[in-house]
Amino acid sequence: MNWKNVTIVALISIPLLVILALGFGLDPRAVPSVLPGKAAPECTLRAIGGESRALSSFRGRPVVLNFWASWCVPCEAEHLLLQDAARAYGERVQFLGVVYQDEEENARRYLAQKTSTYPQMMDPASRCAIDYGVAGVPETFFIDAAGTVAAKEVGPVNPAGLSRTLGQMLARGMP
């Protein structure tokens, strides 16, 4: 009878401990994205102080879609990195900034201090953010020339990852 009980308790407690132990390897805040590999969702964005434009109108070359906000601290360092990258890749890659959960005025002021070399768009009612499953900023999506989401980066992009992902996409783009 005792051994029966031991087995029962062991059967319940050991898996529990294993699961909790496994839990440490995982970041509770990281939600794996389901988008990579799928067609990039279409959405309409409005340039800051400008016209509305469909996201697909930027297509034809790889697109780096970066969601950011003026209140987001890690976005600040990332901003500089993306500006450099945009300059370096020039015409080969389209960089695109999308302002997430922020006032247009704040974004404008922020950009005025920092200069931006690529289009910065507002996202009315977070339509685009929802379509891309954004759960926080910064988040960056890499869309290849054919309009498929190739990769997603949660948190600020790092230079090495950026050049690797873009390198792969550009290589694939060349027939």
């Binding site: 939600v31 988008l35 959960q101 977070s126 759960a135």
Partner: protein, 154 residues
């Protein structure tokens, strides 16, 4: 015996507390209520485990707006769920889909209840003594005796 009970209650639950589940109920609901009941089952991505219908965050409110829009476009409850799952993954559903491995969530407790009932039954039978019972207290057959004992103790 308990499994049917659980099922019956579960069915009742679906019918009463999640009104959109049945096509019939959907008709009688106003759009706001329907949107709310959908929003109750979608997780707010920027909050911590809250449904979008209840979160005060801007993102959740924008997502609720999207739900309203889709309802206005004539989308069904399921289509709206699919839309969000496609973008955020299964994670966005607060009520996991009752398929595959997720079934363990319902089956394990039900099985445990059944086995437990069996064990309790066997225990009570086995311990049911024909032999004179050594008791901690004289077995009071009813409340009156018990009350009298209380008085005595006082």
């Amino acid at each position: 015996m308990t499994l049917p009970i659980v099922t019956v209650v579960a069915v009742l639950l679906v019918e009463t507390s999640t009104p959109g589940a049945g096509a019939k109920a959907e008709v009688t609901l106003t759009e706001t209520d329907l949107a709310h009941s959908i929003g109750k089952e979608l997780r707010c991505p920027v909050c911590q485990g809250m449904p979008i219908a209840e979160s005060p965050s801007q993102m959740a409110q924008d997502m609720m707006t999207r739900v309203h829009q889709m309802l206005a476009e004539g989308k069904s409850r399921q289509e709206i769920f699919d839309y969000f799952v496609e973008r955020y993954g299964e994670w966005v559903l607060l009520a996991p889909k009752p398929t595959g491995m997720n079934l363990t969530l319902w089956l394990l407790p039900a099985a445990a209840l059944l086995i437990g009932l069996l064990l309790v039954w066997r225990f009570a039978r086995k311990r049911q003594g024909a032999a004179p019972v050594p008791e901690a207290k004289p077995a009071a057959a009813d409340a009156t005796l018990e009350a009298i004992r209380d008085e005595v103790n006082e």
